[in-house]
Amino acid sequence: MSKSITGKLFFVLMLALFLVLAACGGDDEGNEEAGGGSEEGSEESEGSEGGEEDSEGSSEEETDPEDKIYDIENFPNQTSNEEDPIDGGHLNFGLVSDTVFEGTLQYNFYSGDPDSQILQFIDEAMLGMDTDHTYNNEGPATFEANEEEGSITFEIKDGVNWHDGEPVTAEDWVYSYEVIGHPDYTGVRYGTVGFTLIEGMEEYHNGEADEISGIEIHDEKSFTINYERLTPSLTSGGIWTYAMPKHVFEDIPVADMAESDPVRENPIGMGPFKVDSIVPGESVELTANEDYWDGEPNLDGVTVKVVNPNVVAQELETGGVDVVDAFPADQYPENSNMENVEWLGDVAGSYSYIGFKLGDWNAEENRVNYKPDEMKMGDVELRRAMWYAVDNNGVGENFYNGLRWNATTLITPWHENFHDESIETPTYDADEANRILDEAGYEDTNGDGMRETPDGEELTINFASMSGGESAEPIANYYMQQWEQVGLDVQLVDGRLLEFNQFYDRVGQTGEDDPAIDIYAGAWSVGSDVDPTGLYGPTQIFNFPRYESEENTELLEDGISEEAFDQEYRKEVYSDWQELMVEEIPVFPTLYRSEIYPANERVTNYDITRYAIEWQDVGVTQEEPVTAE
């Protein structure tokens, strides 16, 4: 698993990364998951996501080079090289990961962040996105919502073609809905409002209807989707905006698509670059798509290759890669003065967290089976004490030099309109943790120095944490030792860190939760829509804590109701939800993250402010990368 990327730790460990989701890569994200997406990611490498907020201005908080605590607000968002790009340039893109990429190169099927990093070059969302995370009409298609009828009409622009020259049609786009909603669909995209709210989708999904009654195709380029109701989630990432070439896939049964040739070996998209060759798990050669709807790309080709996080700094220094999807934040301080690289950075829409298993997955009903009474971590006071026991600011400042910092709620500052800073959350206070545990009846009754459960049984908490990056291991140990300080016996599952893919499998991404895991350190990178249903809704497989409560479900629904078109109302709902999560603690966030984007000095027009990096604009100003002397 690991896919990688991102971060880590969380606790130590990490992080996780995210997979999927959305965010991944920045670009994509957005659309992806609508729901809130999130994907998991990987860790280590830091995440990737695109950032968005801008940091431009800020300089009030000067960083002090002496103690080397950095502030992400001080990083620029775009490269300063203003020369014109040369013709025939070739860019090397480093995919920072300590494992291979899975190679599921189709937006409807991929699940790992590394795959999305490759997808951003070869395919593209049909709708563009503004920096406030709402769709606009600047992409390959336009949309118009009809609020009275609860429908949205889409129209694809002329000149938008697949890599094989076929035009992208309304049918292609609708085909995505038909595949993802299909009963045999094997991927993870279904379940967000972008699908479930479509009229007739449920019948189709259950196999009761052959087609989705709420989707009407008008002509080759336009179609309308009728929703049961409109919600703000739809236009901020809920709409599934990836088309799928029907002429390529129509003969393949849906159940086999994820393993099929056009997904694995000869992926086809409509983005600025086409796939030339793939070395499975290692690298992808891309060449410019001259027929790209928004103009021919500045670059002739791109090589995407996996770079181990341990050597990414050297690769940058020697010009082996020009840009990377995410630079490990813990390596920034020692590399901050690299001569041939310009550092960009931004707040990321991702967070690390500690999750508590409060149930398991009910595969028959496709929903969580929340049963706190049977689970070791079922007592909220125990969970709260564990939150109080960890010093996240210490971790952020010492392991990440301030590039990650103490997280408070489950909506990150990346969604600045919704992140509620006023909510008070537990911060490091070992005495308070001890007090809570004493009151809740967790006492050391047999004199071994570790607390037992209120029933007097030995309490050993099994902690799953991800490997990746050199700080993964010390941070995991650090969290464990902080819990030990308040008398909780926490042990690593299997006595070691788990590799990314294995980690998420065991935590439950396939629905088979490993009962040996009591708590885990993961990370999510979230999609453009603030709606967290995709991660915390009762029917979401990514709800790894397997948490469910009426209040939670209600708030999540309110957040995407029609009333929520009123920003103030929506904001209030999400404030309440953030507060509920602080009270119930199915998971607690540990660190918010920033993303650091190094770029070789020959790279121009590389702007990470945009929700998606506009790869067709990116160019290089000389043949060979600039190298450090």
């Binding site: 050297q314 210490g394 400042e397 050199e470 010390p474």
Partner: protein, 302 residues
Amino acid sequence: MSNQQTEKVIEQKVEKSPSGLSIFWKEILRDKLALVSLLFLVLTTIAVFGVSILLDKDEIVRVDPFAIYEPPSELFLLGTDQGGRDIFGQLIIGTRNSLSVGILVTIMSGFIGIVFGVVSGYFGGHVDNVMMRIVDFFMVLPNIMIIIVFVTIVPKYSVMTFSLVMTAFLWMGIARLIRSRALQEKELDYVQASRTLGSSHMKIIFTQVLPNIMSLIVVTMTLNLAANIGIESGLSFLGFGFPQDTPSLGTLLSYATNPTTLEQRWWIWVPAAILILVLMLAVRNVGEALKRAADARQRRAS
């Protein structure tokens, strides 16, 4: 023994056949390099095991975020690693662990290999055939890969289970060697004589044949010790050795896979690298001296 005694022995020109042990001694005393190596080994072992009793392992593997990558200082003799952990303490405990595994594996694999080899060689014929095919089978397996797989799937492992896994794939070499020697040995008159007198096979094998090939065993096991320490360090280096919270020389060395550590933080990996090198060389020197002592043709003229 003192030098004086040694000289005296030399003067006597070895009138009676000297015992194996005294030959070893003599050889080592005569070879200054081996002597220094032996002294070093003994002192290191005593120091490492002694000091590690005094050190608090939990304290050493304790992560301290406020002391990450400290260079050597009075507080941290050899600096700290990326978790703010004292390298010196890790070096001591790591050396102890590496040595323990090396010794444990050598003894266990030696025991299995010797019994297997001597029984096979002594009986010969079909017994030998079957037993050697088993050895062949184990030898064609890709040992290191299988050890890695085992380590990955065994959920909890300690120094003991780790040693057992290694032992399971490292006993064949010694079994073959002992078997070929036992084959020769059983043809000798003393074995025949003993058999004629009615001694049981067991008695002959373990009280008569075995002592006669003891010198070979000592030499082989000494040389194996160096190899086993190397294998343990290698596996830990790759991340398939000790569990995360158990220091090992290989783990320390693996921190050097981070280029920045390699270039700028020598205190993390140089001491471990030197220690591994010197330890293995020392064991090997001693082993070579023993080998010479055990083989009359190579023994230095006295």
